[in-house]
Each structure stands twice: as structure tokens, then as C-alpha cells.
């Protein structure tokens, strides 16, 4: 028996009155959804292999091995350099793709597990039949990624369990492929990376739609409130709770406990990383301290009275740091127990007592509601005992620096730490303090200093960083009506692109560059999206009028909007917006129809992802999810450590042929978009790349001329000259920006340019269309 779904609105019986009783048997139903199921509902790891290979034939992996060796099995270590194969027969290329798949699996598993914990918790709290509502009346297409990938239309929290079962199964299959003696072909590994990425976006969407629906976050709200960001926003006189991580239920429980006990405003609830964003979605009174890179400096400040950690991107030494600062810790995630005793089942009073008196440095509590109560009560009792660290004698400490240079050699940003520390030793501390703005907060400088100088601590002490910035909290999904308004201009190219700044804070030169790029592209009337740590970094910059990008630009998904969708899991709303354009604007069927929709997005939606500080395996999975939809991703220089790029060759004309659906002929469309995954060296180079990668074969001449004008301008800013590849992007004279036509035509003619048609482009055979 399958597909049975019984719904009883209200029934009176001798046992009592029952409301909203729903019984389901079998998979999540499709209700009244009469759209035919497409060719690939809940695809297996090989179901979209043909689509992947079409992409990967254009964007071939350029391998950048971090290590020539394979160390995964006891045959090894095997040296794979110089064309040698390992004992199992694997090549270096396959090994790189295999590691890329491992990273993508880790990222996807992390988001899937996060989603599972959220859904389970929310079902426990709100019931299985709690309805999904990511956007009220403004969002009819509630879960575009799930509909596209799974062919399912979930309506309740319980329905999401079916989707997660699919995700979990796929992650297991993909991970199994990395075992010794399984997959060996690099392109098949890469196809599986794309599959992992696609699954990742399904899990992201499940997680965010679940929490938006049940926790009353802003629902696709362009006017989501502006909230405070920065240490300066914290009232240090009050008890302060710090929450670090990504999985928000403990933080929500803290906020709810405060509200339930009339303590709102009496305790400062502060956060770092995505939990911070998500708790401000629950309550705008919560404060965002900063991105992942702020963990050390904030803990060491001694301001928090209690630290609550959940999962993901939590420093492994945070407990030690907190202990040294006299801050008790509550670990709340089964994935991050920190070696602490599990005291979940003990009474709250006992836990509060233990934490408040310093009897213990920390404990594991796996019940979010209990965490909420214990954290608040313990923080209030700890407040009088706060140990504000004494001021450092910066000059005296820094004067011990011998200038050996080990710190600069350990620094990811290659900052001139010895110069700054030695200057501080002479009493000139400004340069050292200024370095904090570009510091990624890793603390490696301290690990290697032979004098034992805590360089990062010294840097923080030299910087009086009490700024308060305004960031728009995560709005969640994009409204259907917004898609109707911008879908046409985006597909025609008249809005020059959608650029999404996502991911971690491993920036080459500080988060300021993210803010500058966000501002630049918003001013150029791109639709700019942000999420996670990048959303925070974008806020930490003011224009000449003192406004952050979120104060300066609207939060609507429109030309010139700066749209913070939310935390890492909210990234699904960005890919979801691209999918919605295919559905709402172009009326393409979504249901289990991945390849056709990806082909549409790839050829028509000028979207580009930017992960300027990408660091984690989750970022790898998120990027892969964009790639499979045909959305290119630019990363900062550290992104090269993801072991391979996916690069096109603009000089190989044969790579850029598409089928014109109008004529069924193969036609040249130029290298648009030129790359699927590329690391940029500098911000200026990244901006020129973003403008170029926003071009699509389907651009109208008006749209292409707008995109070309941005590309030319940003290219000239970076390289000081005209692009040498314009002839590849100009189809007809009408593509040329009007005011530059006389200047550009001779350049084109020197390259043997001639006009060519603008096709109805597709990478797919006709039979693939639904």
C-alpha cells in the first residue's frame, strides 16, 4: 500500500476531539500537484552523468595536487608523481578528483546531518504535520530545488524526512565510490562531485525551509530587519552569552527562555558564524559578533560569560581558549562533544550550579531547551565573576621579537607580522592593530613563535575595534513576484547578472574586499546576494556617507539590491532563484527534470558565485551544487587548494558549439561562461572575471552590450588596457556598447571578427526536452 494520505480536519469521538489528524503511508505525496514527473526524480549518482560529461567536456579539470602522494590505504604511501600509478592503479588525476569528492561528501554530509537534526528537533517541538511556509502568499514555489531534484512537493515537516532519506542514501553511495578499488576515472569522480553538490543544495533547502517555517524567521522578506554586528554593539554591563556554530536550536532556546521569563534585554545574546545570523532571524535583538575569524579575539576579550557551541566551523581549541579566559562552555551537538561529560539528563538546577560556581569548565547538553535555560541562568550568575583580562604591555611583549620571520611564514595572508611586531616593540602599535582587519584569526603565528609571543592576541590588543555595523538579517527565499519582475531582464541580459557572495572568511586580504565587491556590483545594477560569513563581511564597510551596503541598497531581489538570504543553509535560495526563473519566467517543468532546467540556467541565467574566502568542505559542496546548474564560481587564491579548477579554453572554438533549437544546427556561441571554477589572484581580477562570467549565449544584443560595458570597464581597471578577447563575445555589431562602438570595431576587425547568429542555445539533444 503506497501513497495513502488521510487528512481529518476535526473529529469528535468518545475519546475526545481531534484536530488536524493526518496519516500518511509511503513516500511523500504530491497532493494536487499534477505536473508530470520528469526523467530523473531522485536521481542516482549516474542518472545525470550525461549532463555532467557535457559540462566537463567544456570545463576540463586542471589539477593542482596539494600532495603527490596517496595515503588512504595500507598499500601506500604511493608516489603518484611523474605519471606513476599507485599500488591500486590510481593516477594522480583520479586521486585529485577523488579527494575533491571526499571533500564534497564531507560538506554534503554535514549539511544533510544539520538538516536532519533540525527537522527531527522541529518535529519533536512542533509536530510532524507542521506546515512548510517559507514565504507566505509571496512564495507559491516553496522548495524549487527539492521539486527539481526529487520530484516531490513537501508540505509538512514530516515530508522532509523522505527528502532527507534520499540525501543520506546518495551521500553513502558517493562516499563508497572513494573506497580503494572503486571509481578510477577522473571525470566520473568529477561527475560524482557534481552529484554531491546537487544533493547538498537539496539538504540546504530542507534545513532552511524547515527553520524558516517553524521558527518564524523572516519569510522571503526583503524588509528583513537590520541588526547590529560588531563587538561594539554589545552592552558589556549585562550578562553575555556567546553562541558559536551553525545549528540554531540551542540559540533559539536561549532567546525563547529570555522571552518567556521576561528577561529580554537583560542578557546579551551574541553569536559568531552562521548561528549568529540565524538567531537574529529569530530575534533582531541578538547581536552578531562577526564571522568565523572572530572566535579567538572575542573569547580572549573575556566579554562572554558563557559559551555555547553547536556544530560546524567551531575552532577545535575553543574549549581550551574559553577555559583560559574563565568562560564555561556548553557543548550542544553530538558532532562536537569536545570530550565533555554528557549531563543532558541531569536537572537544570544542577547544571546551572556547576557552571556558575566554576565546579566544571564545561559540559555536554544535548537538549536544546535545557541549554536555553541553563545558559541564561548560568550566564547571569557568572556575570559578577567575569575576568576581564588585564591590559597587555604591548611594547614590552613585542620587544621580545627577534625578527625570525616564522610568523609571516605561517600566516595565510603573508602579512608582515615581524615588521609590525617589531614596530610595536618600539612603541608604534598602529600598524599591528591595523593588521587585524585582514587577519583570518587562525592563530598559526602564535604556534610558531619561538619567543612565545601571542601575536594574534597582541594584534587584538593593539586594535580598538568597537565599531557597530548594520547588517540585514537573512530574508530567506526569493518571492515569486520578484522572480516575475526580474526573470525577463536577467534572461535577456538587461540586468547584467546575479552575483552571490557566499562562504567562509579565509580571505587573502580581509573581508573589506568582499564589501567592496558587493558595493561595486550593486552600483552596477547587478542583483547581489550574500550569505553566511560573506554576508557579515559585506556589512563591515561603510561608504562615504557612513552607510553599510545593507543600509545603502535595498534588500529586494532586483537590480542594485543587496540580498542577504541568511546562513550557509540559505544558499539554496540563491540556486533556487535561478531554478525559479526557469519555472516561473520560462515555464519549464521542474519536477524531476534536472538536466533541462540546468541547461536553461546554464545558457540563460547570468549568475556567478563568489566564495572569496572559501575554506571548508561545505564550501566545496555548495560550489559543486552551483556548478551542476551551470553556474560558475570564482574563489579567492586559497581556493586553489581545492585541488583542481574547472576551466574552459576560450581559444578552442570547437569547445563552444551549441545546438540551436530553432534550426537544429551546431553553432558557435563564444566562451560564455568561460570557466566553471577558477581562483582569482586579486579582487580586481575577480571583478573582471565576474563580469565576464555573467555573459550567457542567450543574451540579447542589448543585454550583451550592457554586460560587455561592465566587463570592459572592470577589465581596464584591473589590466589597464582593452580586453584582448572581445571578438569572442561580440555576436553582432548591436552587441557593442553604443558609446564605444567606434573604438571597438577596429579591434574586432583586427581579430578577423565577423557577425554570427544568436541562437536558441542548448547543450542537450532534442529528446531530452520535456
Amino acid at each position: 500500500m503506497k501513497g495513502i494520505d488521510i487528512h481529518i480536519g476535526e473529529i469528535a469521538s468518545p475519546l475526545g476531539r481531534v484536530r488536524e489528524l493526518r496519516v500518511g503511508i509511503g513516500r511523500v505525496g504530491s497532493g494536487t500537484w499534477d505536473e508530470p514527473v520528469g526523467p530523473t526524480p531522485c536521481p542516482s549518482p549516474t542518472a545525470l552523468r550525461d549532463w555532467d560529461r557535457r559540462l566537463l567536456a567544456r570545463y576540463r579539470p586542471f589539477y593542482l595536487p596539494l600532495c603527490d602522494l596517496c595515503c588512504l590505504c595500507t598499500y601506500g604511501k604511493c608516489d603518484l608523481s611523474g605519471g606513476k600509478r599507485g599500488a591500486c592503479g590510481i593516477t594522480l588525476a583520479a586521486q585529485q578528483s577523488r579527494v575533491a569528492l571526499l571533500a564534497a561528501c564531507i560538506g554534503t554530509a554535514t549539511h544533510t546531518s544539520h538538516a536532519r537534526e533540525l527537522v527531527s528537533h522541529l518535529i519533536d517541538r512542533y509536530g510532524r504535520q507542521f506546515p512548510l511556509d517559507p514565504g507566505g502568499l509571496a512564495v507559491d514555489l516553496r522548495m524549487p530545488i527539492v521539486e527539481l531534484v526529487c520530484g516531490l512537493r513537501p508540505e509538512t515537516l514530516a515530508d522532509l524526512e523522505t527528502v532527507l532519506e534520499y540525501c543520506e542514501g546518495q551521500v553513502v553511495h558517493l562516499l563508497a565510490a572513494t573506497h580503494t578499488g572503486q571509481e578510477a576515472d577522473p571525470i566520473d569522480f568529477e561527475s560524482k562531485v557534481l552529484h554531491a553538490g546537487m544533493i547538498d543544495h537539496v539538504a540546504l533547502e530542507v534545513a532552511d525551509v524547515a527553520q524558516v517555517s517553524a521558527l518564524d524567521f523572516p519569510k522571503a522578506d526583503p524588509e528583513a530587519p537590520l541588526v547590529d554586528l560588531g563587538i561594539g554593539a554589545i552592552d558589556r554591563e549585562k550578562p553575555v552569552v556567546l553562541v558559536v556554530g551553525h545549528n540554531v536550536p540551542p540559540a533559539v532556546a536561549i532567546l525563547d527562555y529570555l522571552a518567556a521569563h521576561g528577561l529580554e534585554g537583560a542578557v546579551e545574546v551574541t553569536g559568531i558564524c552562521c548561528t549568529a545570523i540565524d538567531m537574529t532571524r529569530r530575534s533582531p535583538s541578538a547581536k552578531i559578533v562577526g564571522p568565523i575569524s572572530w572566535q579567538l579575539r572575542y573569547i580572549r576579550s573575556g566579554i562572554p560569560d558563557l559559551l555555547v557551541v553547536d556544530e560546524q566551523c567551531v575552532r577545535a581549541d575553543l574549549f581550551d581558549e574559553a577555559r583560559d579566559a574563565g568562560i564555561p562552555v556548553i557543548a550542544t551537538s553530538a558532532k562536537n562533544c569536545i570530550g565533555l561529560p554528557d549531563r543532558t539528563k541531569e536537572p537544570a538546577d544542577a547544571l546551572v550550579e556547576a557552571l556558575s560556581t566554576g565546579a566544571v569548565n564545561g559540559m555536554l547538553v544535548l537538549d536544546p531547551e535545557k541549554v536555553g535555560e541553563v545558559a541564561v541562568r548560568a550566564a547571569i550568575r557568572r556575570r559578577p565573576l567575569r575576568r576581564v583580562p588585564p591590559s597587555l604591555d604591548i611594547e614590552a611583549i613585542a620587544s621580545a621579537c627577534g625578527g625570525c620571520g616564522r610568523c609571516i611564514r605561517a600566516c595565510p595572508t603573508e602579512a608582515d607580522l615581524p615588521g609590525a611586531v617589531q614596530a610595536a616593540g618600539r612603541g608604534e602599535i598602529a600598524a599591528l592593530g591595523a593588521m587585524l582587519a585582514s587577519c583570518v584569526g587562525c592563530g598559526r603565528c602564535e604556534e610558531v613563535c619561538p619567543q612565545g609571543i601571542e601575536v594574534h592576541r597582541l594584534m587584538a590588543a593593539a586594535c580598538d575595534d568597537c565599531e557597530v555595523y548594520a547588517v540585514r538579517t537573512g530574508r530567506g527565499a526569493i518571492q515569486d513576484v520578484e522572480i516575475r519582475e526580474v526573470g525577463g531582464p536577467i534572461v535577456l541580459g538587461e540586468i547584467p547578472g546575479v552575483v552571490a557572495f557566499v562562504g567562509c572568511a579565509n580571505y587573502p586580504d580581509g573581508g573589506r574586499e568582499v564589501a567592496e565587491m558587493v558595493t561595486e556590483f550593486a552600483k552596477r545594477r547587478f542583483v547581489v546576494c550574500t550569505s553566511g560569513c560573506s554576508a557579515m563581511a559585506a556589512a563591515m564597510h561603510r561608504d562615504e556617507e557612513g552607510l553599510t551596503p545593507y543600509e545603502r541598497f535595498s534588500g529586494r531581489f532586483e537590480a542594485g539590491g543587496v540580498v542577504n538570504v541568511g546562513s550557509c543553509v540559505s544558499n539554496a535560495h540563491i540556486s533556487g532563484a535561478a531554478v525559479k526563473i526557469a519555472s516561473i519566467f520560462a515555464k519549464r517543468r521542474l519536477r524531476g527534470n534536472y538536466a533541462e532546467v540546468a541547461d536553461y540556467v546554464y545558457n540563460r541565467v547570468g549568475a556567478v558565485g563568489v566564495a572569496w574566502g572559501a575554506m571548508s568542505q561545505k564550501a566545496a559542496a555548495i560550489a559543486a551544487g552551483f556548478w551542476r546548474l551551470g553556474i560558475p564560481v570564482v574563489v579567492g587564491p586559497h581556493g586553489a587548494k581545492y585541488r583542481r579548477m574547472l576551466l574552459g579554453r576560450q581559444d578552442c572554438d570547437e569547445d563552444w558549439m551549441v545546438r540551436d533549437r530553432r534550426t537544429d544546427e551546431e553553432v558557435y556561441v563564444g566562451p560564455v561562461p568561460e570557466h566553471l571554477f577558477i581562483a582569482a589572484e586579486t579582487k580586481e581580477e575577480a571583478m573582471a572575471l565576474i563580469a565576464k562570467l555573467a555573459m550567457r549565449p542567450n543574451d540579447t544584443s542589448r543585454g550583451r552590450s550592457i554586460k560587455l560595458s561592465h566587463y570592459i570597464d572592470l577589465y581596464r581597471r584591473c589590466y589597464g588596457r582593452m580586453p584582448d578577447d572581445l571578438h569572442r563575445f561580440v555576436r553582432t555589431k548591436a552587441d557593442l556598447p553604443v558609446i564605444q562602438k567606434d573604438e571597438l570595431l577596429p579591434l574586432l576587425e583586427r581579430n578577423g571578427w565577423s557577425e554570427r547568429p544568436i541562437p536558441d542555445p542548448t547543450l542537450l539533444p532534442e529528446e531530452a526536452y520535456q
Binding site: K641, E681, Y719, R721
Partner: protein
């Protein structure tokens, strides 16, 4: 610390590491031997220097003296141009490396594949990974890191050098001593 361990010591690569070019003569010999050389100049040449001189000043003079075409990456292009070196190509480093890995790529001037590539001034991690990519993906190519930070994946690399030693080595190898400020 050793002059021939990776500048960032954790960035160990594999079983083979680049011979270090300790003397100007060894680098000069590579320059002389090159038939189709290319010099890649990245953005960090604009921030590396000493005594009022930048690495890009010296490398621009070296390129002019040796007649080596230059590929500008990052935002080094305009700075090269004002120093009298018009880059043969302005391109992202990764995009360039991908083309260099193709033995049939006709080079920045269309005259034929390059046989030796000198690289300087990318951020360390980017140069490290890029040279790893070329080492494995472009066995037809000799790569030489001219950055003052030892790069184990190059065919040859300068050792870890402070500015005066780096300046002296480059100036010596390219015969720039007489023009030194």
C-alpha cells in the same frame, strides 16, 4: 630554517623538490638556454621590495634586458606598462597555467609553445598550487620560481631570500648590476 624548505613549512608536496638556484650564474644559464621563455609577473611584485625599490622594478628591467615576453597576472599589468614593459598578455594566473599545460598552445605571441616559464609574485599558496599543476600537467615545460620564497614544485626555484639577497641574485643573473640604483 633551511633556505630550501617551503616558505610556508607546512606546504610540503611530495617526493621531488626543486633544486635551489643559489647563485646568479645558475639562473643566468637557464635564461640563456631558453628558446621560448615567458615571464609571469603577479601582483605581489608590487608590495615586495626594500630601499624604495619594488620587485616589479627589477623584474621589468630584467624582462627588457633579456627580451623575455611578460604575462601580467592579478593587477600587475598597468605597473609593468609604466615601467616600459607592455605585457604580451594580461590574464588570470590559473587561466594562463591551463593554457601552458597544453603542449600545443602557441604561446602568448602565437609563435609556438613556451619551453621555460619564470614565475614571480603570486601569493605563495597560489604560486605553489599553480606550479604543482604545471609540474604534473605540463611535463614539457620547465618552470622557474623567481619569487623570494622557495617553491618546491617548480623545476627550479630561488631559495628563501630576504630582499637584499633576492635583489642581488636577480640583478646578477640578468646583468642589471650596472644599472642598480
Amino acid at each position: 630554517m633551511s633556505r630550501t624548505e617551503p616558505w610556508q613549512p607546512a606546504m610540503q608536496g611530495g617526493t621531488v623538490t626543486a633544486p635551489a638556484l643559489e647563485k646568479p650564474g645558475a639562473l643566468a644559464a637557464l635564461v640563456r638556454r631558453a628558446r621560448r621563455p615567458l615571464l609571469v609577473v603577479g601582483h605581489r611584485t608590487l608590495v615586495t621590495g626594500g630601499d624604495g625599490e619594488l620587485a616589479i622594478d627589477l623584474l621589468a628591467r630584467a624582462a627588457l634586458k633579456a627580451g623575455i615576453p611578460v604575462a601580467a597576472t592579478g593587477d600587475a599589468g598597468p605597473a609593468l606598462a609604466v615601467r616600459g614593459v607592455e605585457p604580451a598578455i594580461c590574464i588570470s594566473a590559473m587561466n594562463l597555467a591551463n593554457r601552458l599545460a597544453d603542449p600545443a598552445w602557441p604561446g602568448v605571441d602565437g609563435q609556438g609553445p613556451h619551453d621555460i616559464v619564470f614565475v614571480a609574485g603570486l601569493s605563495y599558496a597560489l604560486e605553489w598550487t599553480l606550479l604543482s599543476g604545471l609540474r604534473h600537467g605540463a611535463p614539457h615545460l620547465v618552470t622557474v620560481s623567481l619569487s623570494p620564497a622557495y617553491e618546491p614544485h617548480a623545476s627550479f626555484s630561488l631559495p628563501n631570500l630576504a630582499w637584499p639577497a633576492w635583489r642581488s641574485l636577480i640583478a646578477g643573473a640578468f646583468g642589471l648590476e650596472e644599472a642598480a640604483p
